[in-house]
């Protein structure tokens, strides 16, 4: 475990030694951002809309009390969504989608000697392949989390109003009640940290794959598992330190 962590740190260091030109890395980062971002919009949209809807219905079920105003449902949906569900659940979903894709892609490149081909050309393969993925993830994840926040709240609104749990006015009053802008900042900090964790852990796992197709599959699984655990630990630490 400690040895792996040491190797991970050395891997991180290798990303910043003998980098390729900024022009090349910029182009690669844009490509990766499109791949990671655009391709993840649909899944993030579906997951976050339903999470918002389910949260709204469940909160309404638990707050079935005449002394509690119905607008509290909107308030709770907003708080849960911004503080926890949007950044964390979105990141866990992305760990499955983006993390496995990064690990699988790099693992395949490693076992088919494509990484060696880069090295023979005098290119720092780790920097060329991994750094753009990490930068792209760090740029794109916050955008996806903002989208997830918006769609979750919208999902809650639709579920709440269509099911008749509360009126549109009550929901909007609730989501505007006692709004703390720092919570958004906190969520975005979380998304950046999670983006770093997912992309770096998946890249490290994929880049160090040896063997054949079976090992590539194992690397993908391992990347997702490790990323999810890292997200949960990171989530706790960030909540403890920043709230």
């Amino acid at each position: 475990m400690l040895q792996s962590f040491g190797k991970y740190l050395l891997f991180m260091q290798s990303l910043f030694t003998r980098k390729e030109s900024t022009r090349i890395l910029f182009g690669r980062t844009i490509d990766e951002a499109i791949l990671i971002g655009i391709n993840s919009i649909l899944i993030v949209a579906i997951v976050s809309t339903f999470i918002g809807a389910v949260t709204c219905v469940q909160v309404a079920y638990n707050l079935d009390n005449a002394f509690i105003p119905r607008s509290t449902i909107g308030f709770m949906v907003r708080e849960m969504t911004i503080l926890e569900l949007a950044p964390t659940i979105t990141s866990i979903v992305l760990a499955g989608k983006v993390g496995s894709s990064i690990a699988g892609g790099l693992g395949t490149m490693q076992i088919t000697e494509q990484v060696d081909a880069l090295e023979v050309m005098g290119i720092n393969s780790a920097s060329y392949l991994v750094l753009p993925k990490m930068v792209a993830s760090i740029l794109v994840f916050p955008m996806l989390v903002i989208l997830a926040m918006f769609l979750s709240i919208l999902g809650g609104y639709l579920a709440g109003t269509i099911s008749g749990e509360l009126t549109p006015q009550e929901y909007i009053t609730g989501i505007r009640d006692q709004f703390i802008p720092y919570n958004i900042t906190f969520a975005l900090i979380k998304s950046v940290v999670f983006a770093f964790l997912i992309s770096s852990i998946s890249s490290f796992t994929g880049y160090n794959t040896r063997g054949g197709a079976l090992e590539v599959g194992a690397a993908s699984t391992s990347a997702v598992t490790s990323s999810v655990i890292a997200i949960l630990i990171g989530d706790f630490l960030l909540a403890y330190l920043l709230l």
């Binding site: 494509q114 060696d116 081909a117 023979v120 050309m121 005098g122």
Partner: protein, 308 residues
């Protein structure tokens, strides 16, 4: 010219290379020969720097490579072209982009110059027109050609080929061997080829180094290899011959089987034709006015045949 001196490499307890030294000359196809697991590929990777040897040194045209400063190693690496066993083409790029890649990364050429060079290299390896194909859409032999084109695109000084004809049929393998030989002589580069194929030795081996259990057992030319008295090398050649003979016998047997099948098929066809023939002639003869036929149907048939 590439010189290696006293290369040692072990993976855990397993000693893979044990003090290998030698010189690989410019403008010649230098072959690293040996059975599987004798350390040929590891030696090749030690030379290009993909694996760090435990001991020993490599020099490229007098410049020390192993453990030298990163900048110097990078400079040398940029003169290296390598053809990998599985071709190692970038899956996400087209043939054209694969060949263009080193030019984009290692040179200051503009797009137009790069494309000119790409087309030249593809033409040189006989792949003009395959520019837009993806690696998954081309055959193994074509992949090897693209690999060679990518290796020579940035005007490499050193060409390394790791089992260039593995997985190819004998005819394609021969073509790839010839292509490497031509390119080596044409551009006067230092080429090192890892192989266990005696056909390659006979066809293109200018200088051969035979490895056995991580040690260099023999070095010489292809004319000298048949006269050696080293048992391991002779065994290797014999095994190769046996394999080739076995293949030859197998091919001959297949050829015989094919001929037999063809003969049987022809016979069947002839029999069927013969069976069909009388009825056709009968029809033909029925259409025409029949002469008097005292001898029966056979005579009718003969008449029919004569008419045809």
């Amino acid at each position: 010219m590439i010189e290696i001196h006293n290369i040692h490499k072990a993976f855990g307890d397993k000693k893979v290379l044990d003090g290998v030294s030698g010189v690989f000359e410019t403008g010649k196809t230098n072959l690293l020969l040996g059975a599987s697991g004798t350390g040929k590929s590891v030696l090749l990777k030690c030379i290009v720097g993909l694996i760090k040897p435990d001991l020993g040194s490599v020099t490229f045209d007098g410049t020390y490579f192993t453990n030298n400063k990163l900048d110097i190693r990078q400079e040398i690496r940029r003169k290296i072209g390598m053809l990998f066993q599985g071709s190692a083409l970038f899956d996400s790029m087209t043939v054209e982009q694969n060949v263009e890649f080193p030019l984009k990364m290692l040179t200051e050429m503009n797009k137009e110059e790069r494309m000119e060079r790409v087309n030249f290299c593809l033409k040189r390896v006989g792949l003009e027109g395959a520019n837009k194909k993806m690696p998954s859409e081309i055959s193994g032999g074509m992949k090897k050609r693209v690999g060679i084109a990518r290796a020579i695109a940035p005007n490499c000084t050193y060409l390394f080929c790791d089992e260039p004809n593995s997985g190819l049929d004998p005819q394609t393998a021969l073509k790839i061997d010839e292509l490497i030989k031509e390119i080596t002589e044409e551009y006067n580069i230092t080429t090192i080829i890892v192989t266990h194929d005696m056909n390659s030795v006979i066809e293109i081996g200018d200088k051969i180094m035979f490895l056995y259990e991580g040690k260099k057992l023999w070095e010489g030319t292809r004319d000298e290899i048949m006269d050696t008295d080293i048992k391991e090398l002779n065994d290797f050649i014999f095994a190769n011959r046996l394999m080739r003979d076995a293949k030859k016998v197998e091919e001959e047997e297949r050829e015989e089987e094919r001929e037999e099948e063809e003969r049987q098929h022809n016979q069947q066809q002839a029999t069927q034709d013969q069976e069909k023939a009388p009825s056709a002639e009968t029809i033909e003869t029925q259409d025409e006015p029949q002469p008097e036929n005292p001898e029966g149907p056979t005579a009718t048939t003969q008449t029919g045949k004569t008419q045809v």
